[in-house]
Symmetry: C2
Subunit: 144 residues, 2 copies
Protein backbone atom coordinates (compact mmCIF):
# COMPACT_ATOMS: atom_id res chain seq x y z
CA UNK A 1 0.00 0.00 0.00
CA UNK A 2 1.59 3.27 -1.02
CA UNK A 3 1.49 6.37 1.08
CA UNK A 4 -1.45 7.94 -0.73
CA UNK A 5 -3.69 4.94 -0.30
CA UNK A 6 -2.48 4.45 3.23
CA UNK A 7 -3.44 7.97 4.19
CA UNK A 8 -6.82 7.60 2.56
CA UNK A 9 -7.41 4.42 4.52
CA UNK A 10 -6.35 6.26 7.66
CA UNK A 11 -8.86 8.99 6.94
CA UNK A 12 -11.59 6.39 6.57
CA UNK A 13 -10.58 4.79 9.84
CA UNK A 14 -10.75 8.10 11.68
CA UNK A 15 -14.11 8.89 10.18
CA UNK A 16 -15.41 5.45 11.08
CA UNK A 17 -14.54 6.24 14.68
CA UNK A 18 -16.20 9.63 14.64
CA UNK A 19 -12.96 11.56 14.35
CA UNK A 20 -10.83 13.21 11.77
CA UNK A 21 -7.37 12.81 10.37
CA UNK A 22 -6.47 16.41 10.98
CA UNK A 23 -3.56 18.18 9.38
CA UNK A 24 -1.41 17.64 12.45
CA UNK A 25 -2.24 13.97 12.72
CA UNK A 26 -1.65 13.41 9.05
CA UNK A 27 1.67 15.17 9.29
CA UNK A 28 2.74 13.07 12.28
CA UNK A 29 1.60 9.90 10.57
CA UNK A 30 3.60 10.77 7.47
CA UNK A 31 6.67 11.47 9.56
CA UNK A 32 6.44 8.09 11.25
CA UNK A 33 5.84 6.47 7.87
CA UNK A 34 9.14 7.94 6.76
CA UNK A 35 11.10 5.81 9.18
CA UNK A 36 11.80 2.16 8.44
CA UNK A 37 11.50 1.01 12.05
CA UNK A 38 10.67 2.35 15.43
CA UNK A 39 10.51 6.11 15.99
CA UNK A 40 10.74 8.01 19.22
CA UNK A 41 8.28 10.72 20.14
CA UNK A 42 11.03 13.28 20.48
CA UNK A 43 12.35 12.45 17.04
CA UNK A 44 8.92 13.15 15.63
CA UNK A 45 8.85 16.30 17.71
CA UNK A 46 12.14 17.44 16.21
CA UNK A 47 10.90 16.71 12.70
CA UNK A 48 7.75 18.62 13.42
CA UNK A 49 9.69 21.60 14.71
CA UNK A 50 11.79 21.55 11.56
CA UNK A 51 8.70 21.36 9.32
CA UNK A 52 6.41 23.84 10.98
CA UNK A 53 8.57 26.03 13.16
CA UNK A 54 7.16 25.28 16.56
CA UNK A 55 5.84 22.31 18.46
CA UNK A 56 5.81 21.17 22.06
CA UNK A 57 5.75 17.66 23.51
CA UNK A 58 2.00 17.55 24.19
CA UNK A 59 1.33 18.27 20.54
CA UNK A 60 3.16 15.25 19.31
CA UNK A 61 2.07 12.98 22.14
CA UNK A 62 -1.56 13.78 21.53
CA UNK A 63 -1.26 12.97 17.88
CA UNK A 64 0.69 9.77 18.54
CA UNK A 65 -1.80 8.66 21.17
CA UNK A 66 -4.69 9.27 18.85
CA UNK A 67 -3.10 7.36 15.99
CA UNK A 68 -2.18 4.49 18.28
CA UNK A 69 -5.65 4.40 19.81
CA UNK A 70 -7.19 3.43 16.50
CA UNK A 71 -4.40 1.16 15.38
CA UNK A 72 -2.60 3.23 12.77
CA UNK A 73 0.44 3.13 15.00
CA UNK A 74 1.59 0.68 17.61
CA UNK A 75 3.36 1.85 20.66
CA UNK A 76 6.38 -0.29 21.50
CA UNK A 77 6.81 0.00 25.24
CA UNK A 78 10.09 -1.81 25.39
CA UNK A 79 11.65 0.80 23.14
CA UNK A 80 9.68 3.90 24.12
CA UNK A 81 8.72 4.28 20.51
CA UNK A 82 6.12 3.89 17.82
CA UNK A 83 5.83 1.99 14.59
CA UNK A 84 3.41 2.19 11.73
CA UNK A 85 0.84 -0.54 11.42
CA UNK A 86 0.51 -1.33 7.75
CA UNK A 87 -2.65 -3.36 7.96
CA UNK A 88 -4.91 -1.72 10.49
CA UNK A 89 -7.88 -2.36 8.26
CA UNK A 90 -7.94 -6.05 8.91
CA UNK A 91 -8.83 -6.70 12.50
CA UNK A 92 -5.81 -8.39 13.96
CA UNK A 93 -3.52 -8.78 16.88
CA UNK A 94 -0.04 -7.59 16.18
CA UNK A 95 3.06 -9.46 17.19
CA UNK A 96 5.94 -7.07 16.92
CA UNK A 97 9.47 -8.36 16.57
CA UNK A 98 12.04 -5.77 17.48
CA UNK A 99 15.67 -6.51 16.75
CA UNK A 100 18.00 -5.43 19.50
CA UNK A 101 20.98 -5.22 17.18
CA UNK A 102 19.77 -3.26 14.17
CA UNK A 103 16.67 -1.62 15.58
CA UNK A 104 14.56 -3.05 12.81
CA UNK A 105 10.97 -3.98 13.46
CA UNK A 106 8.72 -6.52 11.87
CA UNK A 107 5.08 -7.13 12.51
CA UNK A 108 3.35 -10.47 12.29
CA UNK A 109 -0.26 -11.32 12.50
CA UNK A 110 -0.82 -13.09 15.76
CA UNK A 111 -4.49 -13.83 16.08
CA UNK A 112 -3.78 -17.49 16.77
CA UNK A 113 -1.12 -16.69 19.33
CA UNK A 114 -3.39 -14.25 21.02
CA UNK A 115 -6.11 -16.88 21.18
CA UNK A 116 -3.80 -19.30 22.91
CA UNK A 117 -2.62 -16.60 25.28
CA UNK A 118 -6.18 -15.72 26.15
CA UNK A 119 -6.88 -19.33 27.01
CA UNK A 120 -3.88 -19.39 29.29
CA UNK A 121 -4.86 -16.22 31.08
CA UNK A 122 -8.50 -17.26 31.31
CA UNK A 123 -7.45 -19.88 33.85
CA UNK A 124 -6.34 -17.01 36.07
CA UNK A 125 -9.58 -15.13 35.42
CA UNK A 126 -7.70 -12.51 33.51
CA UNK A 127 -8.98 -10.84 30.36
CA UNK A 128 -6.24 -9.29 28.26
CA UNK A 129 -6.97 -6.07 26.48
CA UNK A 130 -6.50 -6.19 22.74
CA UNK A 131 -3.03 -4.88 22.27
CA UNK A 132 0.31 -5.34 20.67
CA UNK A 133 2.69 -7.98 21.86
CA UNK A 134 6.31 -7.10 21.56
CA UNK A 135 9.23 -9.48 21.52
CA UNK A 136 12.78 -8.31 21.50
CA UNK A 137 15.50 -10.50 20.10
CA UNK A 138 17.58 -10.71 16.98
CA UNK A 139 16.31 -10.71 13.44
CA UNK A 140 17.43 -12.98 10.66
CA UNK A 141 20.03 -10.51 9.44
CA UNK A 142 21.57 -10.01 12.82
CA UNK A 143 21.80 -13.19 14.80
CA UNK A 144 25.35 -14.25 15.10
Amino acid sequence: MDTQHYLQAAERLCAANGGKLTELRRQVLELVLGYPGVVKAYQVLADLQRDRGAAAPPTVYRALDYLAQYGMLHRVDALNGYIVCHHFECSHQALILACEQCGGVEELDADATFQSLSQTTARAGFVPRAQSLVLTGSCKHCHS
Copy 2:
Protein backbone atom coordinates in the same frame (compact mmCIF):
# COMPACT_ATOMS: atom_id res chain seq x y z
CA MET B 1 8.12 -18.96 50.37
CA ASP B 2 8.57 -16.51 53.23
CA THR B 3 10.93 -13.60 53.08
CA GLN B 4 13.76 -15.33 54.95
CA HIS B 5 13.84 -18.31 52.65
CA TYR B 6 13.36 -16.11 49.64
CA LEU B 7 16.40 -14.02 50.53
CA GLN B 8 18.48 -17.12 51.16
CA ALA B 9 17.51 -18.44 47.75
CA ALA B 10 18.43 -15.09 46.27
CA GLU B 11 21.83 -15.28 47.91
CA ARG B 12 22.37 -18.69 46.40
CA LEU B 13 21.36 -17.43 43.00
CA CYS B 14 23.82 -14.56 43.17
CA ALA B 15 26.61 -16.84 44.30
CA ALA B 16 25.80 -19.30 41.53
CA ASN B 17 26.38 -16.47 39.09
CA GLY B 18 29.63 -15.39 40.66
CA GLY B 19 28.16 -12.39 42.41
CA LYS B 20 26.89 -11.37 45.76
CA LEU B 21 23.64 -10.28 47.29
CA THR B 22 25.17 -7.19 48.81
CA GLU B 23 23.56 -5.18 51.54
CA LEU B 24 22.25 -2.66 49.04
CA ARG B 25 20.82 -5.29 46.74
CA ARG B 26 19.22 -7.14 49.61
CA GLN B 27 17.70 -3.93 50.85
CA VAL B 28 16.29 -3.07 47.43
CA LEU B 29 14.96 -6.59 47.02
CA GLU B 30 13.23 -6.40 50.38
CA LEU B 31 11.69 -3.07 49.48
CA VAL B 32 10.27 -4.45 46.26
CA LEU B 33 9.05 -7.52 48.14
CA GLY B 34 7.11 -5.20 50.38
CA TYR B 35 4.85 -4.10 47.55
CA PRO B 36 2.00 -6.32 46.37
CA GLY B 37 2.35 -5.39 42.73
CA VAL B 38 4.50 -3.35 40.45
CA VAL B 39 6.93 -0.81 41.91
CA LYS B 40 8.55 2.14 40.23
CA ALA B 41 12.26 2.79 40.49
CA TYR B 42 11.67 6.20 42.00
CA GLN B 43 9.41 4.73 44.65
CA VAL B 44 12.21 2.39 45.66
CA LEU B 45 14.55 5.35 45.56
CA ALA B 46 12.31 7.30 47.94
CA ASP B 47 12.10 4.32 50.30
CA LEU B 48 15.84 3.97 50.18
CA GLN B 49 16.33 7.63 51.00
CA ARG B 50 13.99 7.26 53.93
CA ASP B 51 15.81 4.16 55.20
CA ARG B 52 19.42 5.16 54.76
CA GLY B 53 19.46 8.91 54.45
CA ALA B 54 20.87 9.31 50.99
CA ALA B 55 20.58 7.64 47.64
CA ALA B 56 20.71 8.75 44.03
CA PRO B 57 19.05 7.26 40.95
CA PRO B 58 22.09 5.28 39.74
CA THR B 59 22.23 3.47 43.06
CA VAL B 60 18.74 2.08 42.75
CA TYR B 61 18.91 1.45 39.02
CA ARG B 62 22.10 -0.54 39.38
CA ALA B 63 20.57 -2.71 42.05
CA LEU B 64 17.33 -3.19 40.12
CA ASP B 65 19.21 -4.04 36.94
CA TYR B 66 21.32 -6.57 38.75
CA LEU B 67 18.34 -8.24 40.37
CA ALA B 68 16.44 -8.31 37.11
CA GLN B 69 19.43 -9.68 35.23
CA TYR B 70 19.35 -12.88 37.24
CA GLY B 71 15.59 -13.16 37.42
CA MET B 72 14.84 -12.13 40.99
CA LEU B 73 12.87 -9.24 39.56
CA HIS B 74 11.09 -8.74 36.28
CA ARG B 75 11.03 -5.40 34.62
CA VAL B 76 7.59 -4.49 33.29
CA ASP B 77 8.18 -2.16 30.37
CA ALA B 78 4.57 -1.25 29.88
CA LEU B 79 4.45 0.18 33.38
CA ASN B 80 8.01 1.41 33.82
CA GLY B 81 8.26 -0.75 36.90
CA TYR B 82 9.47 -3.91 38.50
CA ILE B 83 7.88 -6.90 40.17
CA VAL B 84 9.30 -9.68 42.29
CA CYS B 85 9.64 -13.07 40.69
CA HIS B 86 8.65 -15.62 43.28
CA HIS B 87 10.00 -18.65 41.53
CA PHE B 88 13.26 -17.71 39.93
CA GLU B 89 14.74 -21.01 40.93
CA CYS B 90 12.76 -22.97 38.39
CA SER B 91 13.82 -22.00 34.92
CA HIS B 92 10.80 -20.51 33.31
CA GLN B 93 9.37 -17.89 31.04
CA ALA B 94 7.20 -15.46 32.85
CA LEU B 95 3.86 -14.28 31.60
CA ILE B 96 2.92 -11.22 33.58
CA LEU B 97 -0.68 -10.15 33.84
CA ALA B 98 -1.03 -6.54 34.86
CA CYS B 99 -4.48 -5.24 35.75
CA GLU B 100 -5.16 -1.78 34.41
CA GLN B 101 -7.82 -1.09 37.01
CA CYS B 102 -6.29 -2.12 40.30
CA GLY B 103 -2.62 -2.17 39.40
CA GLY B 104 -2.29 -5.72 40.63
CA VAL B 105 0.11 -8.09 38.96
CA GLU B 106 0.09 -11.82 38.59
CA GLU B 107 2.71 -14.04 37.09
CA LEU B 108 2.09 -17.26 35.24
CA ASP B 109 4.50 -19.81 33.97
CA ALA B 110 4.53 -19.56 30.22
CA ASP B 111 7.07 -22.02 28.90
CA ALA B 112 4.47 -23.53 26.59
CA THR B 113 3.32 -20.17 25.35
CA PHE B 114 6.87 -19.09 24.75
CA GLN B 115 7.50 -22.26 22.77
CA SER B 116 4.58 -21.53 20.52
CA LEU B 117 5.67 -17.95 20.12
CA SER B 118 9.14 -19.04 19.17
CA GLN B 119 7.73 -21.26 16.48
CA THR B 120 5.74 -18.37 15.09
CA THR B 121 8.71 -16.05 15.02
CA ALA B 122 11.00 -18.70 13.60
CA ARG B 123 9.09 -18.44 10.33
CA ALA B 124 10.32 -14.86 10.14
CA GLY B 125 13.85 -15.91 11.04
CA PHE B 126 13.56 -14.14 14.35
CA VAL B 127 14.99 -15.44 17.60
CA PRO B 128 13.35 -13.95 20.67
CA ARG B 129 15.47 -13.26 23.68
CA ALA B 130 14.33 -14.98 26.83
CA GLN B 131 12.27 -12.38 28.56
CA SER B 132 9.08 -11.56 30.29
CA LEU B 133 5.89 -11.18 28.37
CA VAL B 134 3.48 -8.66 29.71
CA LEU B 135 -0.20 -8.47 29.05
CA THR B 136 -2.34 -5.66 30.32
CA GLY B 137 -6.02 -6.16 30.87
CA SER B 138 -8.38 -6.66 33.75
CA CYS B 139 -8.05 -9.22 36.50
CA LYS B 140 -10.79 -11.40 37.87
CA HIS B 141 -11.61 -8.94 40.63
CA CYS B 142 -11.90 -5.99 38.32
CA HIS B 143 -13.58 -6.84 35.09
CA SER B 144 -16.97 -5.29 34.97
